[in-house]
């Protein structure tokens, strides 16, 4: 009964979404006064739609929780012995369920716009809801016609076929929901862009509404990508964190463009310039999110990511992608030329810096795009089988990243309208000096490889530049400390968030650079034998069988010695999941916060010797610490008073309170 309830809820949501699209567009067309009733109906349908998709999602989750093996989707992706957490996360660990989650988040965002968009112009809000409803309609049709998660099976199997064991992991269990939050968040910016084109008006206020949604999407994407790369690091057992895998690239491209959009929306807000470009960015960011969905689910890309692949579904998503993106770009070609730019600006200024940021990020995105799709098109056009791997991506993106990282330090120090580059650079004198001194010491004492050195230097540069920006803003040193403290507390949250995020990028870069000088060792060890890495002596004490609820495996025992003293025991595992007939490696990682000691065991040969792979990764944990901090910066910026859209009442009451506190 529960699965049917979920199915009907989806159908009802589809009806509501269709009604929502019709009434909102019609209402906005008729006009603010006469269409008020219609537009108000759009609000309640948006909330109702979210309710029904939510109901449907929870019905599916219920089927997973109670292991209802009469539902085909549950049979294919669950097993009665699986821990409850992974039964629940299995809901979105498959194609059908993840699509329901996708639409659920989309409907939720629509409901939020409906509930909290009171201070948006009525017609703009109606059109935003209309665009969101159209996207919903497309995806609900897709689910109902090609990927119904509630299909029953008969006869009912005794047990399920288990979830892909790689997905039975905390890191990966929550990686997809964050990515979907991000992708769907870009749908809201997209809806705002389309609505603005329909309205024919883009102003500073529009920039202020788009920014929080972009920021929200960006934070979610950042966390999602971070979780994915963390998982790859400890689960895939190769010690790497980024492989330029096509599906990773599919999530990186929207992130790069969302980052660009985040910054160009500031220019729209502050200077009423870059409007046409910002609209295009918003459209393209969502298009790339859709493209990622298409590439992963159509089976076109060759990747480690496991999803049911089906060219029929591919055709449907392609049609959906084509209609959505095509319609918005046609709208863009038709209406955007009328949006005349207003702001005039000098190349050396904050907005100039933000344009440089946009150029570099868009170029990076283009490079990743070409590298990801070129093999497919080359195969199609002249049958050439080629692979584009890390060497291409590293060679092509590193120079751009380096330029971007350097400019990131200077940009925030430039004033709006007209800046003085030398003045900004001279404020960074101290930072320059420290970085130069660091480089000299580093070359003399640690390592001479160029790329890691550049990485560390730029990482330090970013952190110091962010610190300089902060110190300047609170006039540290030139006014009494108490006054600086008061200024620090009075800084707009948007500024503080930006400073945190920029410094966080530095921390991530330091972690990535650390990987460049990480020693690794692969050996075949007999029990009792030792090996060394980075000053540690590792003694291999053999392997023994272990087992869990739905797997069996082998666990190796490695004792870590430093100066003949035992400091840790590493227990890497190899697991086999009999139901899914798949194996996984579980790396053992001992982290000090500044470095990771990383161990994986491989096959055991006939004579009892086991392949042991060891890495010593300096600063590796910083990669993810920086990622989290970036998202924290984004959240801090989201709490900026000027972005708290739709809660005018609270704004009025909070303003006097803030004064009283001072």
């Amino acid at each position: 009964m529960i699965p049917e309830l979920g199915h009907y809820a989806l159908v009802l949501a589809l009806m509501l979404a269709s009604v929502q699209a019709a009434v909102t567009f019609l209402g906005a067309r008729v006009g603010e006064a006469r269409g008020a009733m219609l537009m108000a109906a759009g609000l309640s349908t948006a909330i109702g739609q979210a309710g029904f998709v939510g109901l449907s999602f929870f019905c599916l989750m219920w089927s997973y929780a109670v292991s209802d093996f009469s539902v085909a989707n549950v049979v294919q992706n669950s097993h009665s012995l699986k821990p409850l957490l992974y039964k629940l996360t299995g809901t979105w660990g498959n194609h059908e369920g993840s699509m329901v989650l996708w639409v659920f988040i989309l409907a939720l965002c629509g409901a939020l716009v409906a509930l909290f968009g009171n201070n948006l112009p009525a017609t703009l809000r109606a059109r935003v809801l209309g665009v969101l409803a159209l996207v919903s309609v497309g995806f609900l049709l897709f689910i109902l016609f090609t990927s119904n998660p509630f299909e029953r099976v008969w006869p009912i199997p005794e047990d399920g076929r288990d979830l892909n064991p790689l997905l039975q992991d905390p890191g990966l269990a929550f990686h997809p929901p964050f990515l979907y939050l991000g992708y769907v968040g870009t749908a809201v910016s997209f809806a705002f862009a389309c609505a603005a084109l329909l309205e024919g008006r883009v102003d500073a206020a529009w920039g202020r509404w788009v920014r929080p949604w972009t920021l929200f999407a960006w934070c979610a994407l950042t966390v999602g990508i971070g979780l994915g790369s963390w998982w790859a690091y400890y689960e895939l057992g190769w010690g790497g964190f980024w492989f330029w895998d096509p599906v990773e690239n599919a999530s990186l491209m929207p992130w790069l463009l969302a980052t660009a959009l985040l910054h160009s929306a500031i220019v729209v807000e502050k200077r009423e310039a870059l409007k046409v470009w910002t609209i295009l960015l918003a459209i393209l960011t969502f298009s790339l999110s859709l493209l990622g969905t298409f590439l992963v689910r159509s089976g076109i890309l060759n990747s480690v990511h496991a999803f049911a692949n089906d060219p029929d579904r591919g055709v449907f998503i392609l049609a959906l992608l084509f209609l959505t993106v095509g319609a918005s770009l046609a709208l863009y070609a038709w209406r955007a030329p009328a949006l005349a730019p207003q702001g005039v600006f000098a190349p050396i200024s904050r907005e100039g810096g933000l344009i440089l940021n946009n150029l570099l990020l868009a170029t990076l995105c283009a490079v990743v795009f070409v590298g990801t799709l070129y093999p497919l098109f080359a195969d199609l056009a002249w049958g050439a089988k080629i692979t584009v791997g890390p060497p291409f991506f590293n060679a092509a993106t590193f120079p751009l990243f380096f330029a971007l990282l350097f400019a990131m330090g200077v940009g925030p120090l430039l004033p709006w309208k007209r800046g003085d580059l030398w003045a900004a650079l001279s404020r960074l004198k101290l930072a320059f000096g420290v970085v130069a001194a660091f480089a000299v010491v580093y070359v003399a004492a640690i390592d001479r490889t160029v790329l890691p050195l550049l990485g560390f230097a730029l990482a330090l540069w970013l952190v110091l530049a962010a610190a300089t920006d902060f110190a300047d803003r609170i006039q540290l040193g030139s006014v009494p400390l108490a006054l600086s403290w008061r200024r620090a507390r009075g800084l707009p949250r948007g500024i503080v968030g930006g400073i945190i995020a920029h410094a966080a990028v530095g921390i991530t870069v330091a972690g990535i650079a650390g990987k460049g000088i990480a020693p690794e060792r692969i050996t075949l060890l007999q029990p009792g034998e030792t090996t060394t890495i980075a000053g540690y002596v590792i003694r291999f004490e053999g392997t023994h069988p272990v087992s869990g609820p739905n797997w069996r495996g082998t666990e190796g025992r490695l004792v870590v010695l430093r100066n003949d003293r035992e400091v840790a025991v590493l227990t890497p595992q190899r697991r086999h999941y009999p139901v899914a007939n798949m194996g996984t490696t579980e790396a053992a990682i001992r982290t000090s916060g500044f470095a990771d000691l990383y161990a994986v065991i491989g096959e055991t040969a006939e004579n009892g010797a086991t392949v042991v792979r060891l890495h010593f990764n300096p600063l590796a944990p910083w990669i993810w610490a920086g990622t989290i901090l970036m998202a924290v910066g984004g959240v801090v910026s989201l709490t900026d008073r000027r972005l708290r859209v739709g809660v005018p009442a609270r704004r009025r009451t909070s303003a006097p309170a803030a004064v009283a506190a001072e």
Partner: protein, 190 residues
Amino acid sequence: MTSRRLLFLLPLLLLAAAGAGFWAMLAGMQRGSFDPRGVPSALIGRPAPTFTLPALEGSGKPGFSSEDLRAAAREGPVLVNFFASWCIPCLVEHPHLMRLAAEGVPVFGINYRAGGRDDPGAVEWLRRHGDPYRRIGVDHGGRVAIDFGTYGVPETYLIDREGIIRWRMAGPITDQVLANDLRPLLRRYR
């Protein structure tokens, strides 16, 4: 229509081109004429590419060229194996290569060094685990790997008496691969 308007049409035109391409791919996948997931088999049934590789210093064996390969293949099928000392799967398949070499199957090793990745431990690795190779060539910069269409290491090719590539294995040669694929092929092309 002004050129400014044309500029605004550009994204739409690019989308149309990309959409047509994707559609052709999907159509090809349904017909079975386009398979992006299949391991590229462009070289299977074709002669091995032409190359000359320098020796691995310290291995005490000369390097080799495609001519040497063809000469050896005239006596019976030969294997070309891409390896590197930093690669775990290479170590996994290594005992099988040792056994095949002991049985008299000529195995030519290519030490893979692409993407700025050097392999200083190669000689030590061979000394420690045994050297199954008749000759070893060093592929600086991975040119030959590209000519072979190699994905990564380990990768193994079987070349018949005519110098034609008959089989490729991307990944380690496991017990199963050895028993189900490689041994029957070695018998067939003997």
